[in-house]
């Protein structure tokens, strides 16, 4: 057996986390057709909640992960109800604003909650340091296990695949195809949009928790708009509305920057250029709306057909 170096394990771990993020964002952006730029915000909620629970409260890892994810889910549900009334560009900007607010809230959490606790009269009881502001949250208990990450990635893909194939999933896809038509067919669009938004947020929270316990040091600046765009890019590269496409996109876009390292500082210049070129030449992504299985099956039937044509 060959041994994996630490570097390779690190890349593999980030790849798994990115798969969770991309697949869950695809439910919101691809299937439901709601342009969200706020995925990093939900990731931040999950990461901070889980980190605080394992470190300060001594919760077990799985429970903390689930708690972080549930909090992200609740945020997605509560914020989704008003926000998802917006469409297109406006929705993108509003979700971007939301994730910025989450970030600023994390940075200012200690000060503000301290003051609030002081007003209620429990200033002495309130812990002084919860999120530790802009300095970042250090020394999170380490859970460096690829098994956890890929286990969660598998669960994410399985759950989303089942959702997409269920009747709820059909309703969600129909909103993505044409919201007005879906509404006129009697589909409760607000309900399904919020549902898919919250489910996406849930798995973003999971990814955040896994990330926090892998890197053991998080700070609010890690979850800026750049992170959201990075996830979005994976979804777009793979194909909006294709789960296996998102997995593919996450894999490619985790490995590609590692190869771009040879260009050192020019890496972040080449990256957006690739995005623009992708948008100009193949806006539907690598797989479009198809799944990998159907693409491969299509290849076989074509090969068989051409073989049959050659035989006759």
């Amino acid at each position: 057996m060959f041994e994996l170096s630490n570097y390779h394990i690190q890349v593999l771990a980030f790849m798994g986390i990115n798969i969770i993020l991309a697949v869950s964002l695809n439910l919101i952006n691809g299937f439901t057709g709601q342009f969200s730029l706020g995925h990093a915000g939900f990731m931040a909620i999950g990461a901070y909640t889980a980190a605080i629970l394992t470190k300060a409260c001594g919760w077990p890892f799985l429970a903390a992960t689930l708690a972080g994810a549930m909090l992200a889910f609740l945020f997605g549900l509560l914020l989704g109800i008003p926000i998802l009334r917006l469409k297109g560009d406006y929705l993108a900007i509003a979700t971007f604003g939301l994730s910025e607010i989450v970030r600023v809230a994390i940075v200012n959490f200690d000060d503000v909650s301290m003051k609030l606790a002081g007003y209620v009269g429990m200033g002495d009881l309130w812990p002084k340091e919860i999120t530790r502001g802009a300095l970042g949250y250090p020394a999170i208990p380490e859970v460096k296990s690829l098994l956890w990450i890929y286990g969660w990635a598998f669960v994410t893909c399985l759950v989303l695949r089942n959702i997409v194939r269920s009747s709820e999933g059909r309703a969600i896809s129909s909103i993505g195809e044409d919201e007005l038509a879906a509404e006129s067919l009697g589909i409760n669009t607000a309900r399904y949009k919020t549902l898919s938004f919250a489910i996406g947020a849930f798995f973003a929270g999971v990814a955040g928790a896994l990330f926090a316990h892998w890197v053991t040091f998080i700070k609010a600046d890690l979850f800026k708009i750049d992170k959201s765009i990075e996830i979005l890019l994976m979804v777009v590269l793979g194909g909006m509305g294709s789960l296996s496409g998102s997995v593919l996109g996450a894999v490619v876009l985790t490995i590609l920057p590692e190869y771009l390292r040879m260009f050192a500082q020019w890496r972040m210049v080449i990256y957006p250029v690739l995005l623009i070129l992708l948008m100009l030449t193949r806006p539907e992504g690598l797989l479009g709306k198809r799944e990998l299985s159907s693409v491969i099956a299509g290849l076989f039937t074509r090969a068989r057909r051409s073989a049959a044509a050659a035989a006759t």
């Binding site: 406006y90 000060d111 210049v269 250029v273 100009l280 806006p283």
Partner: protein, 446 residues
């Protein structure tokens, strides 16, 4: 209430800058229906072109460039960049055309240059950063710090090399690739392209100018006018606040409530009188307010630019063309409006306004860096949405509201919460009145 007035002054200066940027968003959105996310980066690049021009003139010719020429050069730089972005990245999304080989040329040239550079470094001949030639502030760019070898190829050679390589890549790729049109998800594609351009410009800026902040030369020396709070209150009531309230009341009454002219005038006058009474009571107080000459300059420049912009839009042929395209692209083209030229003009105007904002910002707040455009860009977008996107006076009003709110938050709440408030306003306005304060409602058509 000196503290309040001081924050108001700061807020109006900041708001004028937001307003100037917001107008660029609003013009482009009005004409193309596209949110130009790269606008904040155009603002940054405009500021840097003014900065480079000043530095270049000083280091190469020993000329101390004044405020006027620097501003004009910044506007020209930003204008060219805006038109180029439209031509390279946005036009292919709109019309059937080949993938702009220019972009591929630049990238291909860049990649080829990096390979040549890598080989050169192996041979002990590191190429200097081509843009270090322009900056020349000593160790400002990352490459300039790294390359300390004796045998350094001069940056002018690097620049020529890059240009040659880019030209070659351009010739090779021209006409080879063509765009596949997909009508579905066009907004998404446009939005992502804009995000890509914005990221690209930020990182290109970091590579070209270095990530460390630079101090912008004081083209206009800081000079504070100290004014008694009472006097300042009187001035501001007369000069800025009351006219603003009057215009705001007038346009809301006319547009949103569809009142006829005399009634609107009557109500607006009433509102202004009531506000005068309330404000004069509120603003009376002890202490002094500092009016910086730079703040006055910012406000003045904003007013002048807006007047000129209104003249362009309502009194010239190209302005008429822009208004026509905003109403209906196809119909305008059938009437003989040159669509592409008109859109380019809109980009040029919006970008040069952003450059004005950038240069003024740099003079007032002295520090510039490649990421300076991200946050003001986002806030100016909020301002444009707040005022009703597509509406030029709305963008200015939105900018002023944003600036004053931000400055009040800094003064009375907490300076770290300023960004949260800005985006809070955005979400609030989107939920309550998505068309903005002065926007018109457009029903969704099937």
């Amino acid at each position: 209430m000196a503290e309040f007035l001081q924050q108001l002054v700061n807020g109006i200066a900041l708001g004028s800058i937001y307003g100037l940027i917001a107008v660029g968003y609003t013009i482009v959105y009005g004409i193309l229906g596209l949110i130009n996310f790269a606008h904040g980066e155009i603002y940054m690049m405009g500021t840097f072109s003014a900065f480079l021009a000043v530095q270049f003139a000083k280091s190469k010719f020993g000329i101390e460039m004044g405020f006027g020429p620097a501003l004009v050069l910044g506007m020209i730089g930003a204008g060219i960049l805006g038109v180029a972005i439209e031509r390279i990245a946005y036009r292919p999304l709109r019309a059937k055309s080949a993938v702009p080989a220019v972009l591929l040329g630049l990238v291909g040239g860049g990649v080829a240059f990096m390979i040549v550079d890598a080989v050169g470094t192996q041979l002990g001949l590191p190429f200097a950063n081509p843009f270090a030639l322009l900056i020349d502030t000593g160790g400002s760019s990352s490459r300039a710090v790294e390359a300390t070898t004796d045998f350094e190829v001069p940056s002018i050679v690097s620049l020529i090399l890059w240009a040659v390589l880019a030209w070659g890549a351009y010739r090779l790729s021209r006409g080879r690739l063509s765009v596949r049109k997909t009508t579905k998800a066009a907004t998404l594609t446009a939005l992502l392209t804009a995000l890509g351009v914005s990221l690209l410009l930020q990182n290109l800026g970091i590579q070209m100018f270095g990530a460390t902040p630079k101090s912008f030369p004081a083209l206009v020396e800081f000079y504070p006018y100290e004014v008694e709070a009472n006097t300042a209150a009187g001035w501001m009531l007369a000069a800025a606040i009351l006219p603003a309230i009057a215009v705001l009341a007038w346009s809301i009454l006319r547009r949103a409530r569809n009142l006829d002219r005399p009634t609107a005038i009557g109500i607006a006058t009433g509102v202004v009188l009531a506000c005068t009474y309330a404000l004069s009571g509120l603003l009376r107080g002890e202490g002094t307010v500092i009016l910086a000459n730079q703040d006055l300059l910012i406000f003045g420049a904003m007013v002048v630019s807006m007047v000129v912009l209104q003249l362009i839009i309502y009194r010239t042929k190209i302005g008429k063309a822009m208004r026509a395209v905003a109403v209906d692209q196809d119909a305008a083209r059938l009437m003989g409006v040159r669509l592409d030229f008109t859109i380019s003009c809109a980009f040029a105007i919006g970008s040069s306004l952003a450059a004005i904002a950038g240069v003024l910002y740099a003079i007032r707040y002295t520090k510039i860096d490649p990421l300076m455009g991200a946050l003001p860009g986002a806030k100016a977008f909020v301002a444009a949405v707040l005022g009703g996107i597509g509406n030029i006076p709305g963008a200015v009003v939105g900018g002023l509201i944003m600036g004053v709110t931000e400055s009040m938050v800094v003064g009375y709440v907490s300076s770290t919460l300023r960004d949260a408030f800005a985006f809070g306003i955005l979400i609030l306005i989107l939920l309550v009145k998505p068309t903005g304060l002065m926007g018109t409602n457009q029903p969704e058509k099937v």
